[in-house]
């Protein structure tokens, strides 16, 4: 969309002012010192720079003006026509054309003089050429004085035009002078339009804004129009014609049936008919103002004739354009004003939506749209919902049990309607902590009991006193929440393992030996217990070994177990010999380590005993002697 920055046009300087600006700028921004004895190329370059700079500055200034002013052919036709009415399109275009021509003339001129400067052979000649060039530029600009003046006046006027957005939702108020257009405008918007009891108070377009249905609307108040041929209309009237012709808006055509405005009813109807071509394809509402004054009787019949009926809706070209409705209103008593506004806005809205739906853009959007409609839900469980099923409504799912309970409650309530209100309240309402607080002296006095809400296995535990520290130990450090479970698990595991090991050993043996093994184990257990009691009367020390016994004890035990006597004797003797050997003073540790792996029953190492055979020994000795 084109934006109209009519308010942001820079000021147009006068011709003399522009020349002053450019010349002083050239003087300031280019070097100023030159001497005759400088190299000629330097002198030429010095003056060339001056010419080029002046030309560029003129060019920029003119371009700025040309760029700022809107081009009549490119802007919205409403604005184009308004410019034509107010400032005369030809004059406007001519002025801008002159500026653009002058710009190209200046460009060519500088090019020409730069070319001549290349042949300058003295400072004097170069200087004269520069002087001529800049002088000619100034002359060209001086001739534009009248154009500059005109453009400046246009700029000042344009900046004060009401900023009308041609694409916005819009209402246009039109009609004969003095029928109450401006007073209606003042009622529905905050625009402060001058209202006076004489015709042609409003001499230009006024714009006001209002909100309806959360949308922004602009209302345009137009100057009054007389019933004349188009050619005879003056500038003031032409402004309203322009607005009527180019803006897509609801037109509120104001009539004054009381003829208080100074124009007869026939004249006003005549104006309506002469403006008909401007009303084509726009929502049109006839508004009869000044209902506070007496009317003529035949007015309503005529008005009905102007309004389009439902039956003859077809809008063919040869038929006269008809209004969408007519309404009564009195701006003096402020009756019917809002109704008129709402009707007008609704008319425009519906038309805009219709045209949008018809348009090609809407079709492309509609093709991509899919509106999902929920399938009808069937609730077989409950009766009430079956009725709504037909409406295609989706009800929340309520389980059958809940539904039943609800029904029961309902019947209960119906039965117990008699009891007093307070009881009912007690039943239904829960006693809140807040109520308790109120009952026990209010905030600050009552302190709530936290303990009663504890979730414990046994309710009697709620008020138990639980120390935090006992004998300098924090209790929390010793709490193991799942100790019972873990203990139970451990015990179970142990039982299982014992059973397993017993079974394993028992399997391979015959009955007799099984019994024997059992006896051995029982005895072992007894012994362990007895010994532990002997040694450590305080308690059983599992870590103490049952192993080292006296040889007599072993002997007795083995015999009991049914070992051969010979074998028992031999083993006992072996043990004894071992012990005697072991009592010998041991060798230093380092030596013992040097031999092979350490065993507790290892015999004493002798020289020459580490060899495999004699040959190896001989060889080793031989080698030793050699070295």
């Amino acid at each position: 969309m084109v934006t109209y920055n009519l308010k942001k046009i820079q000021t147009v300087p006068g011709a003399k002012e522009l020349i002053d600006i450019v010349l002083s700028k050239t003087q300031r921004k280019t070097p100023t010192v030159i001497h005759r004895h400088y190299a000629i190329s330097r002198i030429r370059q010095f003056y060339m720079r001056k010419i080029k700079f002046a030309q560029q500055t003129f060019h920029d200034k003119l371009s700025q003006i040309l760029q700022d002013f809107p081009k009549v052919d490119e802007i919205h036709p409403f604005y184009a026509d308004l410019l034509n009415v107010l400032y005369d399109r030809d004059h406007y275009k001519l002025a801008l054309g002159q500026l653009s021509k002058a710009r190209s003339l200046i460009d060519n001129l500088s090019k020409e003089y730069l070319r001549l400067l290349k042949y300058g052979d003295s400072l004097y000649r170069c200087k004269m050429l520069k002087r001529a060039a800049v002088g000619r530029m100034c002359t060209i600009v001086k001739r534009l004085a009248s154009s500059f003046g005109y453009l400046e006046r246009v700029r000042q006027h344009m900046a004060r035009l009401p900023s009308i957005d041609p694409h916005m939702r819009c209402l246009i108020i039109a009609g004969y002078p003095n029928v109450g257009k401006s007073s209606f405008m003042n009622l529905i918007t905050r625009a402060n339009v001058d209202v006076q009891p004489y015709p042609f108070t409003t001499k230009s377009l006024y714009v006001g804004h209002m909100d309806y249905r959360y949308l922004r609307w602009q209302v345009i108040d137009t100057p009054g129009i007389l019933d004349k041929p188009l050619e005879e209309r003056n500038t003031i009237e032409m402004q309203s014609i322009t607005a009527l012709a180019h803006l897509r808006a609801t037109i509120l055509f104001f009539l004054d049936p009381s003829e208080h405005c100074g124009f007869s009813w026939e004249q006003q109807i005549g104006l309506f008919h002469s403006l008909e071509p401007l009303f084509v394809e726009k929502p049109l509402l006839i508004v009869c103002n000044k209902t506070d004054l007496p009317w003529q009787s035949q007015v309503e019949e005529q008005l009905n004739a102007l309004v389009r009926q439902e039956s003859n809706h077809s809008n063919s070209l040869d038929k006269p354009v008809l209004a969408d409705g007519w309404m009564k209103m009195s701006t003096l008593e402020k009756t019917g004003v809002v109704e008129v506004r709402n009707t007008a806005c609704d008319l425009l809205l519906s038309q805009r939506v219709e045209s949008k739906v018809k348009g090609p853009r809407a079709q492309s959007i509609l093709n991509r749209l899919h509106v999902a409609v929920p399938a009808s839900m069937t609730h077989t469980s409950c009766d009430d919902q079956k009725e709504e099923e037909s409406q295609g409504l989706c009800r929340p799912f309520i389980p059958e049990s809940v539904w039943k309970k609800k029904q029961e409650n309902k019947t209960m309530e119906e039965e117990e309607k008699e009891p007093s209100e307070e009881d009912h309240r007690k039943d239904s309402q829960k006693i809140l902590e807040k109520d308790l607080e109120m009952a026990h002296g209010g905030a600050g006095v009552y302190s709530s009991d936290w303990n009663k809400h504890y979730l414990l296995r046994d309710d009697s535990w709620k008020y138990d006193i639980m120390p935090e520290i006992v004998e300098g130990h924090n209790i929390l450090d010793f709490i193991d929440t799942d100790i019972d479970e873990r203990l139970a698990a451990l015990e179970e595991e142990e039982v299982a393992r014992e059973a397993m090991s017993e079974n394993d050993e028992m399997e391979g043996l015959d009955e007799e030996s099984q019994q024997r093994l059992q006896r051995i184990r029982d005895k072992k257990v007894l012994l362990i217990r007895g010994r532990s009691k002997q040694r450590n009367p305080i308690g059983a020390n599992k870590m103490t070994k049952a192993h080292p016994k006296s040889s007599q004890e072993w002997r007795k035990q083995w015999l009991e177990m049914g070992m051969d006597k010979e074998r028992v004797d031999m083993t006992t003797k072996q043990i004894l010999s071992h012990r005697s050997q072991s009592r010998e003073p041991s060798k230093p540790r380092s030596q013992s380590r040097s031999t092979s792996t350490y065993r507790w029953n290892q015999t004493k190492a002798e020289a020459g005993k580490g060899f495999v055979n004699h040959q190896q020994k001989q060889k080793a000795l031989h080698l030793a002697r050699k070295t």
Partner: protein, 260 residues
């Protein structure tokens, strides 16, 4: 009053502030003081321009005062007598002064005779050859000096083709060739931009004339077919002489006066 005239609207609604007119009067009274301050402070070119403007304003002011201070007098009595006017009772007599007509024709004829060779600029400043011709060094070692470049504005006819470099003694550069001249008609007091047909005579030397060099005082022939002049025999005049009145090489354009 359009919608945007905030200042006017405000004044209409609230009026001026109480001391508005007093302030206005004082501001006006201060104006000369301010002006004098500015005049004192400006220097250089700006001061010159300002002084000139002030002078012009002063003159206008004085003239206006003089006009206003003159008494209202009946001006009809003061009108000077026009020569040859007669009192109303002699108006019907046709006293054609034939002697006067005769003397006029003689005067004109004499003028024509003398004016045939009379030009607006009878004397010109001599131009040295060194000024007009720039020596061009040529040859492999740039030591030959027979070639010249014309540094003045020249006119070169349409059908001209440059000679081969070996034979081209005088170069007339493209940048300095002119085809048009601003010719003033002395009787019409109007200036036209006309095509140059040729260089008739350059007062400096015949070489210049043949080369088509245009300097101040040169007689050139211009195409005046636009004027639609007709000779006594009914032929359309299209070539007329004009004398150059400026230094074209300094001004970048040729100004000339038509020789009628």
């Amino acid at each position: 009053m359009p919608q945007g005239d905030y200042i006017e609207e405000h004044i209409k609604e609230h009026g001026h502030r109480l001391d508005h007119f007093e302030r206005l009067r004082k501001k006006e009274a201060r104006e000369p003081h301010k002006k004098s301050q500015i005049v004192k402070r400006t220097r250089g070119m700006k001061a010159k321009l300002l002084n000139k403007q002030n002078f012009v304003d002063k003159v206008q002011q004085r003239k206006k005062i003089a006009a206003l201070s003159q008494k209202k007098v009946d001006r009809r009595m003061e009108q000077p007598l026009v020569e040859g006017s007669v009192p109303p009772y002699l108006l019907d007599r046709q006293a054609a002064s034939s002697a006067k007509v005769l003397s006029n024709t003689i005067k004109e004829k004499r003028k024509e005779k003398a004016g045939k060779w009379e030009v607006p600029l009878p004397k010109v400043r001599p131009v040295a050859d060194e000024e007009t011709f720039k020596v061009i060094y040529t040859g492999k070692r740039k030591k030959k000096q027979w070639k010249r470049m014309v540094t003045k504005v020249t006119f070169v006819g349409d059908g001209f083709t440059r000679k081969p470099p070996k034979y081209e003694r005088f170069i007339r550069p493209m940048g300095l060739r002119f085809k048009k001249a601003h010719v003033t008609h002395p009787e019409l007091k109007a200036t036209f931009c006309l095509d140059i047909i040729g260089v008739k005579k350059n007062p400096q030397s015949s070489l210049y004339s043949s080369l088509g060099v245009i300097t101040k005082g040169t007689i050139i022939e211009v195409n005046v077919s636009e004027f639609g002049l007709v000779t006594n025999t009914g032929k359309v005049v299209w070539g007329k002489y004009a004398q150059v009145t400026n230094n074209p090489e300094n001004d970048g354009c040729i100004n000339a006066v038509l020789l009628v």
